[in-house]
């Protein structure tokens, strides 16, 4: 479903990725963990073309993106990137809802204007999605009137309304307090259980342990270990993984 192969990316003279690869099968839930700045988010952003990369390729459902070098891609390139994005839903740490639109307008904007869906159909879809995440009552609210957790759930709803083949979550709960994080995680959990292909960059180890099919450990732009959660969390092979887990789990146990 999603293949990253030999990805090379640097910031000026500082290399971040030096030819890393990752593969996600249809229906698989992959959790990316690792210290801040280790490349989890950048990996997600490379996959849907928000970041340039110098070498390697990203293949999403058969569409290939080769090195994106330019901030100003050619027309064909831009169109290929857009086609990749149509297959992927993305959720950001900062929600990024459109503040000048209501919840409903946020959700139906892209289906109507990008997919050409009828307004009636997309409103019906939006209501159904909002019902599933218990936000029907907020349909006409503006983002500024919602709590952080509610905003993030709307952002998920907005991505789902495009009927994506896979979802990318970029630290979806990092700017939420634990209670709100719980609401958001349970929505993501439902998606994973429903068979949605997902890649999640997160610091929520508990969630990773329960929901992931596979955990990928990043460190300084390298994938240092990958495996099922039980293996990674109970018996990590790589010393650096162990150090990292001791650090975060130690902190979270207090």
């Amino acid at each position: 479903m999603i293949t990253v192969h030999g990805l090379y990316k640097s910031y000026g003279a500082h290399p971040l990725f030096q030819g890393i690869s990752i593969q996600v099968e249809k229906g698989e839930a992959v959790v990316l963990i690792g210290p801040s700045g280790s490349g989890k988010s950048t990996m997600l952003r490379c996959i849907n073309g928000l970041e340039t990369f110098e070498r390697g390729e990203v293949i999403v459902d058969g569409i290939e993106l080769h090195s994106i070098n330019s901030k100003r891609p050619s027309k064909q390139e831009a169109e290929r990137i857009r086609n990749v994005r149509l297959k992927l839903g993305m959720v950001f740490q900062q929600f990024n809802l459109f503040p000048h639109m209501t919840v409903l307008q946020n959700i139906i904007e892209a289906p109507v204007r990008v997919l050409g869906m009828s307004r009636e159909q997309s409103v019906a879809d939006a209501r159904e999605i909002l019902r599933q995440i218990n936000l029907e009552g907020k349909i006409n609210s503006y983002p500024g009137q919602l709590s952080g957790g509610e905003q993030q759930r709307v952002a998920i709803a907005r991505a789902l309304a495009m009927r994506p083949e896979a979802m990318l979550f970029d630290e979806p709960t990092s700017s939420l307090d634990p209670e709100m994080a719980g609401e958001v995680l349970s929505v993501i959990r439902k998606l994973v259980d429903g068979g949605m292909t997902t890649i999640i960059a997160t610091h929520e180890m508990g969630f990773a342990h329960e929901a992931a099919d596979r955990v990928v450990v990043f460190d300084k732009g390298n994938i240092i270990e990958t495996g099922p959660p039980t293996e990674i969390f109970t018996d990590p092979k790589v010393p650096r993984t162990r150090e990292f887990l001791n650090r975060v789990l130690g902190r979270f146990r207090i």
Binding site: N48, G49, L50, R72, A78, R82, R85, L86, L88, G89, M90, F92, Q94, N96, L97, F98, P99, H100, E109, A110, R113, V114, L115, Y142, P143, G144, Q145, A155, R158, A159, M162
Partner: protein, 480 residues
């Protein structure tokens, strides 16, 4: 109407006058009495000895005379670009001007009159002017005389009322100006007096375009006829401008022009309202239309600069820098008087609309850009990940938020533009400020008419601020 440029003379101007049924003569009504100025009794009418002379000339041609308003300083360039058939407004015959225009035979012999404060005993003639502050009008022979003397502290004015006012307020030691001007403005003023007899001697003549020899000959014939029938003398006597010098006999000068000035001082204020309101109407028309242009063009410039890539980005940036970095006044002059040199002749309304609109577009563009840059990057990323193209994302997500941020600045600019619109009077537009200065110059009621004019401006811009404030509040409510 906007696109209609004044036609370049193809056939002779004389034929065109007859064909048209009226002659168009250029003069500056702000130049003031007794040449051509708004009638204090009915300010929508221009009167003066030159108006009477123009009527007499038109009568001889079998047509009507229509005055075309134009700033005095630029009467000659306006004539050259074909805005009117001839210019007649106390234009002195000088060698410099002969390079640009053809002069008719003179219709008046003027002298220069020195004026000082009533109690001044030091200055008896122009030889006493060394080291003194002496006021005069820009571009006049009097200015040449003063400059030529050397050692005189010459203060140049663009109106003929202000030097006498400054003299009365002791900001000047003396004023040297053409006798008709002194006769009208200085003689009736009890604080001022003539110092010595008139000096110098020069000629007022009608200026026509260089190739209009036929029209010049016709005008010469008509002037000769008006001389011989005594009609010219009648006109000058009416305005108190007749003197023996006109018969080539140097003698004393009598005047009575002061009666009109007194009338102007007494006329009820309501007489001036129709003209001021008309001026306000022109101001609104110019401001609203050029603001619309500025908003549209500014948006285009911003989008080019931020999203269109190298050649367009560079073009838009240069446009903005050039327009912000040069004075609006110069831009207006180039548009109106400069472009005819390359064959593009805009009428005053069009030039004012383009001049103001294109200038303010540069400022609007910067406001939009600041607005767009203030929208968090995540907004564009979120829109892109939903499959939107950049264009759609800009239109639906970025711009609505950017406009909200830019709105207070845009309103501010609109109000500023309202006031800047007074600058277009330099390109022959008679809007509110120009109307005011014309009326004030002929009646000396600077204070009263000034207050009324200021109130009119305020009455137009204040509702705008209120509207903008309400709009801002409503937009803010959308997204707490």
């Amino acid at each position: 109407m906007y696109m209609a440029a004044p036609p370049k003379p193809k056939e002779g101007t004389l034929e065109r006058i007859k064909e048209r049924g009226y002659l168009l003569w250029g003069a500056d009504a702000e130049g003031g009495a007794p040449y051509a100025f708004p009638d204090p009794g009915d300010p929508s009418k221009i009167i003066g000895f030159e108006v009477d002379l123009a009527d007499a000339i038109a009568h001889e041609l079998g047509v009507k005379a229509v005055q075309s308003q134009n700033a005095w300083d630029s009467l000659i360039p306006a004539l050259e670009r074909g805005d009117f058939d001839f210019a007649m407004n106390g234009i002195e015959v000088t060698e410099g001007r002969k390079n640009h225009v053809l002069f008719s035979e003179p219709y008046y012999i003027y002298t220069e009159q020195l004026v000082v404060q009533k109690d001044n005993t030091d200055i008896k003639s122009i030889v006493d002017l060394k080291g003194r502050r002496v006021g005069t009008l820009s571009g006049t022979v009097a200015q040449d005389i003063l400059m030529g003397m050397g050692g005189v502290n010459v203060k140049i004015y663009s109106g003929q009322v202000e030097p006498y006012q400054d003299l009365a307020l002791s900001r000047l030691d003396a004023v040297l100006l053409d006798l008709p001007i002194a006769a009208y403005y200085a003689k009736p003023n009890p604080k001022l007096k003539y110092a010595g007899p008139p000096v110098g001697e020069g000629l007022y003549a009608i200026a026509v375009r260089k190739n209009d020899t036929e029209l010049k000959k016709k005008l010469d014939g008509i002037l000769a006829k008006l001389y011989s029938t005594g009609e010219l003398k009648k006109i000058y006597e009416k305005w108190g401008l007749w003197n023996k010098k006109q018969e080539k006999l140097a003698s004393f000068f009598e005047d009575s022009g002061a009666t009109t000035l007194e009338e102007g001082r007494r006329a009820p204020v309501k007489n001036f309202f129709p003209m001021l309101l008309k001026g306000a109407g022109v101001t609104v028309l110019i401001s609203v239309s050029s603001m619309a242009l500025a908003i549209g063009l500014g948006l285009l410039l911003t989008l080019m600069r931020l999203y269109a890539g190298p050649p367009f980005e560079w073009l838009a940036t240069s446009y903005i820098e050039v327009y912000r970095g040069t004075p609006l006044l110069i831009q207006l002059f180039i548009l109106y008087y400069g472009l005819p040199n390359v064959g593009i002749s805009l009428n005053p309304v069009m030039a004012a609309f383009l001049g103001l609109g294109m200038n303010y577009a540069a400022y609007e563009a910067e406001l939009y850009r600041a607005g767009i840059n203030a929208v968090p990057n995540g907004q564009m990323e979120a829109a892109l990940t939903l499959g939107m193209t950049r264009g759609l994302a800009v239109r639906r997500v970025i711009l609505p938020q950017a406009v909200k941020i830019a709105l207070p600045g845009i309103t501010n600019d609109f109000i500023a533009l309202f006031k800047d619109s007074s600058l277009v009077s330099v390109i022959a537009m008679v809007e509110l400020t120009k109307t005011y200065s014309m009326l004030a110059a002929s009646t000396l009621r600077f204070f009263q008419l000034g207050l009324i004019t200021a109130l009119l401006y305020f009455g137009m811009s204040y509702p705008l601020s209120l509207l903008a404030r309400r709009l801002e509040k409503r937009l803010k409510k959308d997204q707490r």
